[in-house]
Subunit: 406 residues, 2 copies
């Protein structure tokens, strides 16, 4: 009986309002398949609350334009999903021919990736660089790497470029307001990279993009109240999700956990103050403590956990205490259900735990401590690229009809 | 022409869906008059987007049940508001006969108020107490004070009791999870006070209620990104508004800025940790520095600003530095447009500024510092009572129809 009324809605689907409704429904379906992976048409019907024939039409439209692929007769029992009458329900997946380019300038390298719709990293290169460089040099390097990466990729449609910047970025136009580790102030990075490549470019703070990636595909999936801190060669960033919404702040610069105060008479920070988390807790010092160079940062957690060297253990203990202080302030203020640690902060946490360090949340106020889970980021070094690609895919998903028309 | 279609909507107002719509419209109108003060019927028409006759019906219904009063013919030119055709538009105000009782237990007193709809404090008493007392003693004291306050008030309808507790409170049932300054753990304060008075009781964290009051009627009016810190005899609390929404956290305990880390090797805090803001910055120490007792805390700001005593100035300088560190961490993480300081923190700020102390935001990262306003709370000692009453009025406003039926 609900089917009858819904069909009558579909029959009226012709005017301006219903066109907006159709675009919104296309976005809902594409967004679900993007985030959830392959879904049966029955799943989509259940998750969207739309009727079967509407979902079928929407999927058909997305498929006809190459945004999703439909597996009409999945092998019996794939994921156990079947339509009510026993016929197999077709599986809908994102197309593997739609991708975004992702760029993540770090202090010692430019990392470039090709990320498929659905958040899968298809290709990844790391171009080592001198530690200080201009925006123009970064754009030139990135453009060369992108050209190389896309050469011969005739099958893939690139929806745009997303850039993850270790600094404050104005979302509206991708203007880098400040990236202290590069010495950049008010640099129009997105416009310059757009001019150089001919592609549309979006840019945002790298840590916030890491959080978006973990929230969509990693340790933060489905978590409404989340504190996220990530460390890299360029320092420590972070972000928060509160009540299911990304914390942005008045100007989009919220989440700078790297500039939480952790030590009186502490080291000078690049921000001009003293005792900030990112001045006290650095990847370079941890790498040096176990004789690793930055290209092998992925081994850091295991090496820190395994070391018996008292000097290295002392560095871990001191840095962990600073992380513990920052986490305590953050959890007391945000009352999250999950704390996600990414990059070298996850390595530091793992190392300290292996040496019998105290609970990261041990000094949080009692009421906010209960049940809080500390989790390592799940997407590893890919999270910045996946997050940067999310900037591009968010635009694509918000209005697939426009992409279809293009 | 829009009037015609809207009239047709009104003509259909009979079924269940339109009853829900009517209740929602009553809530919108009552909420506007509650927050904005007296509004003309033309203002209400413009602010709600409803048509004149619908607004007239809604106002009539609210007035008939004693929730608003209508001044049919305001003295010529009152606030200059006139209907399009030159006839004066009736002014709608909240009734002065609907009120909430507000209770704020502090460590050294129980403060009880009667707060009218619209957030006006009608009566206020302060019952001095011993510094440690049980929940049962607090309920007995509060009940006595409430009985005295309501004696002879035959004209006023009391919609319920709101309690502002300096501690963590579960909103759903007013259970005090933890109030370290009283030594309370898992105390069913709201239920006990309800049993004792026969009135409905809601309870919440005092600082969060202070924030609600300032956000609705004070320094935070219309601000979407706000950090609020307030100090009282029981310590320091706070809250945040981000993107226009109150930060609650996973369990409702967000905003504990009093437990932000500000000093290495600092004092032991009641929470068990060291160096928390509320361990380093206390009203008692500031009062003692200028020889005031707690009953004269309202004079603290002026006294701190005026003092020439080097010892007192040194206390101010040390406490201000701790407040500055906590504010820096908070602004770096939240990127607010306004920081509101309440209670003795406002006094400390005023005192330090008078002695030529550095900018409270001087060490905030550059991008988040621009344009941030530091403001003293505007509602003074009434903010807890007004906030506690908001708990009651929020229920009343959310469904006036139910209140009307009662």
């Amino acid at each position: 009986m609900s089917t009858a009324s819904e069909l009558s809605t579909v029959r009226h689907a012709s005017g301006g309002a219903t066109d907006a409704l159709r675009r919104s429904n296309l976005a809902t379906v594409l967004g679900l398949v993007h985030r959830e992976g392959a879904l049966s048409r029955s799943d989509l019907t259940r998750l969207t609350g739309l009727n079967r024939s509407t979902v079928g039409d929407l999927v058909g439209e997305l498929a006809a334009h190459g945004l999703v692929a439909v597996d009409e007769a999945p092998a019996g029992g794939v994921e156990g999903v079947r339509a009510p009458r026993g016929r197999p329900s077709p599986l809908v997946r994102v197309s593997d021919r739609v991708a975004a380019v992702a760029v993540n300038p770090e202090v010692d390298a430019v990392i470039i990736g090709l990320v498929g719709l659905g958040g899968r990293v298809l290709k990844r290169i790391r171009v080592e660089t001198a530690s200080a460089r201009s925006v123009a040099e970064t754009v030139t390097l990135a453009s060369a790497g992108i050209a190389g990466m896309l050469a011969g990729e005739t099958e893939i449609r690139v929806a745009g470029i997303g850039v993850a910047v270790p600094g404050q970025v104005r979302l509206s136009d991708g203007m880098v307001r400040e990236a202290t580790h590069f010495g950049w102030v008010d640099e129009p990075l997105a416009r310059m990279l757009g001019d150089a490549t001919g592609l549309r470019v979006w840019a945002a703070n790298a840590a916030v993009l890491g959080l978006r990636a973990e929230s969509a595909f990693g340790a933060g999936r489905g978590i409404d109240d989340l504190v996220y801190m990530i460390g890299g060669a360029s320092g420590i960033g972070g972000g928060g999700i509160s009540g299911g919404r990304l914390l942005t702040g008045a100007s989009g610069y919220a989440g700078e956990f790297g500039h939480t105060f952790v030590r009186s008479d502490g080291r000078a920070c690049s921000c001009g103050a003293r005792g900030c988390l990112e001045a006290e807790v650095t990847q370079a010092e941890l790498l040096a403590a176990v004789d690793l160079d930055s290209a092998r940062a992925a081994e850091l957690g295991d090496r820190l956990a395994a070391t018996d060297d008292p000097a290295a253990r002392s560095v871990v203990a001191r840095q962990y205490e600073a992380l513990r202080v920052a986490t305590r302030s953050a959890v007391n203020v945000f009352n999250p259900s999950v704390v996600v640690l990414g990059g070298f902060l996850a390595a530091l946490y793992r190392g300290a735990q292996a040496h019998g360090a105290p609970d990261l949340l041990g000094e949080v106020i009692h009421s906010s401590r209960d049940g809080v889970v500390v989790s390592e980021a799940l997407l590893g070094t890919d999270q910045m690229l996946i997050g940067a690609a999310e900037l591009v895919f968010a635009e694509l998903i918000a209005d697939p009809a426009r992409a279809l028309a293009a």
